[in-house]
Symmetry: D3
Subunit: 327 residues, 6 copies
């Protein structure tokens, strides 16, 4: 059973910086989830530096504790988790990096270890989706982001942090009719920016609509859209308002609070997730570590979903077993 | 037609830092608005350094894109805009600086180019109002600020960032009965601080009242007060809560969110504005660029009002023309 | 009468940095309150550096002005206040530091000068409570904090910033049935973290409950609990959300806004407070001074309560005197 | 005649941030030199963010004044200079960026305007050398750097900031027997790192040798090597010790002082330079602006060389003219 | 006897921030020297913010210890020293500030308490010299600075941080033939910048000459020039290289090391100083506190000179007394 | 064979942050050296925060490459090295921490793995010396530091970062007649500070003497003193001048350059070292990572000494073997 060092024995600032002080295991062992860093930032179009995102998030994450009060679960009572380290990226070469992401994640998917990926810029999600879809087929995509990232190209380049979901669609990795994008806002290049994404088949819930509809209604619409499909949750840290996440590539005013973001994830506990990522953390603009705080706590809720799911399965198995034994 | 470089061709981090990557044109050309920096901070009474405000705002503003979704307008479809550069200020000499501001803005007012001024500290607004009133007569002043800036003097000095509107009133530049001040809060020197401003004839809506009345009612009261008068919008960045704008001279807790501030401006689209400024940005306390983000996006909404106004006039002219041609 | 330098004569950035520019008087003089720094941080379990908290808070506090508009009182019309300087702590030795805190505060309590203590980490409150209880007997404790700080031990140590209220209870310094803890949240070490504190007799209102019940209901419950008991108000700056207070030891997402925190204190004006502290400010993570802004303004409201209380007593005495003279 | 704004009229902190407050002219006009930014950082292998280098250098450069006392010349008495703005780079695509660099510099070389290029990472020099060699043929390269940047590949990539001079050699852009590399130091990947570069034909003077030989002897060896060949000066800011230039990609202890670096350039006044660059400035690690100070002053000396060269030609022409008229 | 708190009893980070933890005494008591802050920065022409210099220097100075090993003296064995607090400046009004400086320093000069002044920008030295010359007549000025600060005007203003010594000369406050300026360097506005100062009668030793002549020869020339005249030592922190003092208004590469600067002051122990200042410290660019370290240690050496002088006088008096008693 | 990941395959910014990207192995395996963090800072008397030193140093160390050119050795050709992680410290309890250090290092000493310890404050060295002396008996101590750290007590506390070598002497862990302290400087509490240490038997070479004697003579004196004794090298980062190491607890002007510090270690290659530490790195004051650069490179030279020693032994064994085989 892989779990964090106990803070009763070892102070939280001690030790090599793995996520939440999990054991660093770069193999496919008996685990339910694996933290995987993808420190790639060649896809960034404005500020750069997301390659230092994974180490920045790991650094703060040592403060996280195993019991999630809202979801009422001690994560490691049910789950075994590891920090798998980082995928070796090729700075400057996105295609070779995609290959490495696919190769790196494949054994995890095959071993039924759910990857929780730390970016890196948003271009990396295409690599993750390739690996996920290879195992699971076209996925529902639940995207929290201030942008749709469905442009055809940026400066003539087709593989960037502004284009992954256009490519994922073309490659058949995601099923648009079961996908939802939440949080879009900010000034746009053309009036068609959102409509283009809608025409691709994605459902878009702007940040404005989030404010008007309320969390519960948005969650309802997500469930309606995703249903029982296998899903991938991609969380761009710029979904949050810049005051919660100043350390990011393209901050937009008017974003969500961390309370909102975390509540969204908590309420998605019945979705059948096969993978998660959190991207676009840039330490250079994060002097007070606010972005690391937001990112760590958001990932913590993703892990909690994995634990809840595990508990459910364990209980179901127990019930089946007890039913069978009572026959 | 002067408009920003297209980000489809040129990445947003490329180029000399003008506001929103507009062409730098230091002459009165065919334009609807001009960004004008006034890097003066001799008027500051607590923290200083607002002289670096204009370059700090310009630096971040390159992320802004031309289409404003909420107002549904592509700014540069209707508007021509330039970055006029900075007025040469005289650090240490406020009177000579006022002369330069007046001399600098006069050609813009005469050419019907709406100035959008980047401070500098709040003392500069007196110079801008002098130039504006010379052209347009006494103006309605809509002030978003945590302080009224109507003191008689600071440390015996009559021309500072705490006194511009007392002076403007004495000089007949503004019409108090058509002016509104929104956002006042914080500890005060004497119980009379707000009452003194009210006795000068200004309407004051404290931040507390903003929270109680709601945005729509406040906007209604502004319209009621301002009516059809020519108006000047002065926005002190400390109207925002310090978490949105840490980089400012005299931060006060309990301020507005950027969503609120932007919504206020958006709803003032039927006011007849002849000028705008945004003041009191201090980069030294803005390590994560949050203040630059707040300032850039607020100015963006001011420019949008200019574009909306232009579109309305164009459409009215078209309608008149079509009416006439159909006669 | 001890009061701050007037900003009409002396700019706010001038002078030795005392709290709110009060006179520095390291003796028990005729004063109603005394600011006392306790720059101790040996009790911190994650980030450290709270020893620089008092000077950081004093540094920003010079912006505070004497008139509190919401409470409608000019503090120094009724109150005499001093900055008493810092207690000499012994870094690395918590027991000798506790002795110094007790010895340092004792003359203040004996002279009926209400101490307003600037931490330092939360371990110092045990020392303050010892001094307060020696004079006043077991106290009601009103705690604003994201944690209960009632652990039995951290890493086997019984005297740390996570354990003061367990010790205070054991030592009979506080009366749990008249104490309330507000703001708990965040991931926990075990499911029992909150229940353990409840079993000790404390009433706990989690941050979640704060959001659900609203400020007024929470305040009502505090009054119900505390009644007329003599009370000590301990305010951990991490009660605030990290965006308002990034500079702290163990930040937790989902905290209060400064508007909420300040409103809580304002509404506790009828509680019979004998002492106050504000702890866990860490300048190293506070590049934009947001934490200093939050802390200064929070302490300002504590001082206002002292002034309100003094005014009430003065008025009562006047009424009594006038009654007597009219007999 | 293009020259900076006079600081007697306009304070140095006023105005759009061009290098040394030169006019921003994005055309080939009558000028002796042009500042050209190339904000490309896709080639960086460790820290990234050099795309913000040009604006960071420009920002500080406004402090530079026209008279160079050591070289005894008022630069703009002889020279006309412009800030040409930035080349549009393609983040993520080094080959298309190289094309843009070539296309962008070509008109300057053709108009005999010496480019002074602000990087960006060191990979961009290959683009600059292509443009320079197209006009001038194979060049002498004088490189100040802590690394030779002659690797065959980094992580399998042939076009990075560690490989430009290997490529430049293969493409016949530089003549190794007339080239010198100064300043190499630091830990190395293999014992052959320096020998490999020597085998390619380059002369290498390590930082250790610089300390042992002294500036004058090193300068003598440079002249001996370069002779009358047309030369390109490439200056990696990490030539300086990290205390002088903390804001860079791969800092190595034991570098030069700014006094040394500036003296080297001053003494190269008789070299026939056709172009200059200064690369690898990363603002994210430059909180006190030290790197911007070092970079600005180094570029200032490059411009001075252009002015000295111009003065010499003007004087020679005068002498010829006077000789002829006296015939 | 006024002396710092002992660090054997009170940790160095405890207490209100006075210089070197001296008692804060805002009266003329029995003391040999007084630290006086002048937080004025209206005279700054490039970066601003020196108003926070005094508190920044005081903050770090608590690390200084009483025994100066090189000079072999325990300062407070001979000296009584106080922190006098700050002069109330008038931001934005240099003339009223000069009056306050004069009024503030006069009692100190009259009580034979040597002022050691913390700037503020260099314009303040004119005020200090006025006060000093009123008591002592025209003074020798020993100036360590990268600039001569003898301009006629900046932007048409005659009272700025670039002009104090031109004014001081005109006002007869200093005797140029007994004054020396050390450390000039950097790019200049015109070739005449240094010659103009020389023509005013000042001796100038450029930084280059310092490097060539060596410390001892420079010191010899200073003694030769100053002789027995009463002298004022003005130290602009930009005398140091930017790596030692990044936090300053107009940093110039190629400055002195702190070892050099401190050695200069140590060797001036036989000069008859009547006052000292250290100016141009700007905290905003001093994230690592290097400038505060350099400034504190430099002031420490000034105080040591006062102590050495006192010891000499005490010993002379003793010798005279013993001679007399032995008669 | 344990060695760093190759940067030819994996970019230097990839991966969990171990020192120099060594494998993280928390057991005693076949290795020549082990990096061990001791994140303890309860012993700090001025600034605090050294608990984050180990992770800060590891973070930058990924830039270090295996071949040391000056010593002409590829470290990992001869050496096997691991990152052992951190010792679990007890913040606030120095005695229990000492126990943990001893327990933690004991297996390494027993397995002949040389520990290279990352502090933490200087108090930790006492724990390391206890473990080392238990195995090796009283050791020669070579200390590079600006202070002697031989005080009897600080604020009455005997176990702090200012007292370890007084305690070590009393406990018989070090042999003063074979120990040398290099680099002392700065203001002192009493004239006896250095003499007290000399009277304890230590040889002290002040920083001033280092400048006067030169590196070679100082090295000669070290060898003379240490001879063949087993030695422990303790390196306080404040040996360096603050410009090279701003991030430290008690910075003193006038320190060594990194070139000097590194040269000292390089020249001690014939000393028989049994352990090393580097202490007092405080990230909070290290915004540009200069201290991490200095620390990483200094530790790199320590490791190189281990490799040189190993090579020597291997060669000696070979020679012996060849001699024997040739018999």
């Amino acid at each position: 059973m892989y779990k964090p060092k106990s803070s009763l024995e070892s102070p939280r600032f001690c030790g090599i910086r793995t996520f939440m002080r999990l054991p660093y295991v770069n193999e496919t062992v008996e685990a339910d989830f694996a933290i995987v860093g993808v420190p790639f930032d060649t896809g960034q179009s404005f500020r750069t530096g997301a390659r230092l995102g994974p180490s920045h998030i790991r650094d703060f994450s040592s403060l996280l504790r195993p019991y999630n009060g809202v979801q009422d679960i001690d994560i490691y009572e049910y789950c075994s988790g590891i920090d798998y380290g980082d995928i070796d990226v090729i700075p400057g070469n996105i295609h070779r990096t995609y290959e490495n992401i696919e190769l790196g994640l494949e054994p995890l998917f095959n071993a039924d270890i759910t990857p929780v990926i730390l970016g890196g810029d948003h271009s990396i999600t295409l690599g993750s989706l390739r690996a996920a879809a290879k195992k699971h087929g076209p996925l529902s995509l639940i995207l929290f982001d201030s942008h749709t990232d469905t442009s055809e190209a940026l400066y003539g380049e087709q593989y960037t942090h502004g284009t992954p979901f256009k490519r994922a669609l073309e490659e058949g990795l995601i099923s648009p009719e079961n996908s939802v994008f939440i949080g879009m806002r900010g000034s746009m290049v053309t009036p068609n920016d959102l409509d283009d994404a809608r025409e691709l088949g994605f459902k878009i819930i702007t940040m404005r609509e989030v404010r008007e509809l309320g969390t519960d209604e948005v969650v309802r619409q997500i469930y309606e859209r995703v249903g029982n499909h296998k899903a991938f949750l991609s969380f761009d840290i710029d979904f949050y308002d810049p005051v919660y996440a100043p350390g990011t590539g393209t901050p937009e005013v008017g974003g969500a609070t961390t309370v909102q973001g975390i509540e969204f994830i908590q309420k998605l506990k019945d979705i059948n997730f096969v993978g998660f990522d959190l991207v676009e953390v840039l330490p250079a603009y994060d002097s007070g570590q606010l972005t690391a705080i937001a990112a760590s706590n958001t990932i913590y809720e993703m892990i909690t979903l994995i634990a809840l799911n595990k508990r459910r399965r364990v209980q179901e198995e127990k019930e089946v077993a007890s039913l069978e034994s009572s026959k």
